[in-house]
Symmetry: C2
């Protein structure tokens, strides 16, 4: 199918925020300047709030440190992680835009096999603006991409697709491995450029990495909570996984009362993965990672079946209701695995309350630290 | 994970048959000679049985025409289509090998982006010998491929994978489009080489094309029936789709009583798609195709939900039992769509009877026309 002829970059200029969690000066933005400069940045400063984060000139940004988070959210700030990149989800909360792109500050511009620099943001926008196809797998991948289409045998009633909620991008150079795999394969690099975008089918979970991720905040924002990680918590490096599992289950929300014959009446949402690639510059310390991950590594054996069998009742007609229902199931079922999940279930509720407070009552947020423009 | 160090080509030399349905001289084999010559070919001659099919010298083959099929199967020959490439499944029936690779005679050797000729058969063998991962999607695609692995957040209990039943290869040049898409996009070519193999997740249907397909006959053979198409039938070009839907549902057979915690006790099977590419030389006539497809185009709108909701009882512990059960559901539910499906349900039963007759009772099959070696 033909791509939209209008430039997607221009289309979303005022509808997308770039969210960056960081503890250091944002020199990495220099490389992204040609692609990011037209967009607004939301920087979430982790760690010591007295530290000054330098942002290269010419960028339009707002920056929040821990003091800002505490001031804006009050007691509800407890749901935002500290000393963990999970704090990035505060940026989703305070954004007023329809779309979010979030990227780690150790991710640089990758090159495609022809040597051309990849405009990751533009590809995410393409992914988000084109529909998804979660009900039947298309063997030629994204059927909406130029030069391809639905293959023989793909039902015509499903060719309109459904709105895309999430665009999950990948990584060249350092792959997103867990600590055990890092330890076993310290030198493995990802050098394979797979030139495809695809919809992850309905009912299928995937490990969602937060390093290079975009989503439709209006559709799925309230489920994009990155959980309780880091300071004072028994676990780290599962923030994006948690958000991915919850998000995927939430896209199922409508799927549970979807039969194919009513797909046009009750829309589900899709999750895409594949392009764009970024260049992940440096592997994090596997020993530190193992300490953060080790509880997660055995907990996830129970989390995956939990999410695979989660059923959301039909009256969950908004993501918020869906997420609150999920928090109840987390408390009831995962609370038996570890008391951490009771705390997490509480935080899930707090997160949705904070979301509604900042996003539905029209309460304006004071933007600290000004913006460069 | 490391690939098997032994050459897969040598591994399966005596365990794989190449099945080719045809109505013409097999000149296309010249291009495949370096890759196919070590293997045994089963040629299923369609159409006029008095025509002599020329096979290039040096190949080891057996060839069956309609008279052979009628002689070998007797009244059960009614389940094998005539004047349609669906007749290829007769080759699956008479093979005694563990693996089948089937290819159309208008498919040639494709080249990878570096210009190197692609050994499609070898890639299929790699796909079939490596496990599948149908329970959770791995974002870096096939985790068993050299240079890649399971990503962070992938449950460790699922990293052994399950046996691969099907390897579905793709097509450069002429894509496998239906007649309406062919008519709308007469000039579209597939030029995108996507360097990936992936498992199609559990519970997800896909359009399986028979042009470039390999499978584990021991695991899934009895479900690889290509249906009633062509001469005397109201439909064509849905033979491979039918087999794909039935096969995918049959891999679910074990999934229905699979919970993640017992995955090591009760194995499911996987279906892979992606590499290898072949070069599909010529689009078939879209007007002729439309005539063959038009009933299928609206029937498939009911077939997909039928297969998506098909449940196979726990006592279906073999593919044969599974397939007979499926035939009952086809008769009961799809029989209402059109009486054709009652005939098809009967043919499904006949097919399984023929399969058991030729494959389980030890009855030897007379190989007609000799072999070149």
């Amino acid at each position: 199918m033909a791509e939209t002829s209008a430039s997607p970059t221009l289309l979303l200029k005022d509808e997308l925020d770039i969210v960056i969690p960081t503890i250091r000066n944002l020199d990495f933005l220099e490389m992204w300047r040609p692609f990011f400069q037209p967009y607004h940045l939301i920087i979430v400063q982790d760690g010591d709030p007295s530290k000054i984060i330098k942002v290269p000139g010419g960028f339009d940004y707002e920056i929040y440190n821990r003091n800002d988070i505490n001031r804006i959210l009050g007691p509800k700030a407890s749901c935002i992680s500290f000393k963990d990149s999970a704090c990035r989800c505060f940026g989703y909360l305070v954004s007023k835009k329809k779309y979010i792109f979030t990227i780690d500050d150790d991710c640089f511009v990758a090159k495609d096999p022809s040597g051309k620099e990849i405009n990751a943001l533009q590809q995410h926008i393409k992914n988000l603006l084109a529909p998804s196809t979660p009900f039947v797998f298309n063997t030629l991948y994204d059927p909406y991409r130029e030069g391809t289409d639905f293959v023989r045998g793909y039902p015509f009633s499903l060719r309109e697709g459904v709105p895309t909620a999430v665009s999950h991008g990948l990584w060249l150079n350092i792959p997103d491995y867990d600590a055990p795999t890092q330890l076993v394969k310290p030198l493995e690099k990802n050098t394979r450029f797979v030139d495809a975008v695809m919809t992850i089918p309905k009912g299928t979970l995937f490990p969602m990495c937060g390093m290079n991720l975009a989503f439709n905040r209006e559709l799925i924002g309230p489920a994009m909570y990155f959980g309780l990680m880091g300071d004072g918590q028994p676990i780290g490096r599962y923030d994006d996984m948690w958000a991915g599992w919850c998000t995927k289950v939430s896209t199922l929300l409508t799927e549970h009362f979807l039969s194919l014959s009513v797909v046009c009446d009750h829309m589900g949402w899709g999750v895409k993965t594949g392009l764009p690639y970024i260049w992940h510059s440096k592997a994090s310390n596997p020993f530190v990672n193992l300490k953060k991950e080790y509880k997660g590594i055995y907990w996830q054996e129970e989390l995956i079946p939990f999410f695979q069998s989660a059923i959301l009742p039909k009256d969950c007609t908004t993501v918020q209701k869906c997420y609150i229902e999920l928090s109840k199931q987390v408390r009831a079922k995962l609370g038996k695995v570890d008391e951490y999940f009771i705390k997490l279930a509480d935080a899930m509720v707090t997160w949705v309350e904070a979301w509604d407070e900042l996003n539905q009552t029209g309460k304006s947020i004071e933007v600290p630290n000004g913006s460069a423009k």
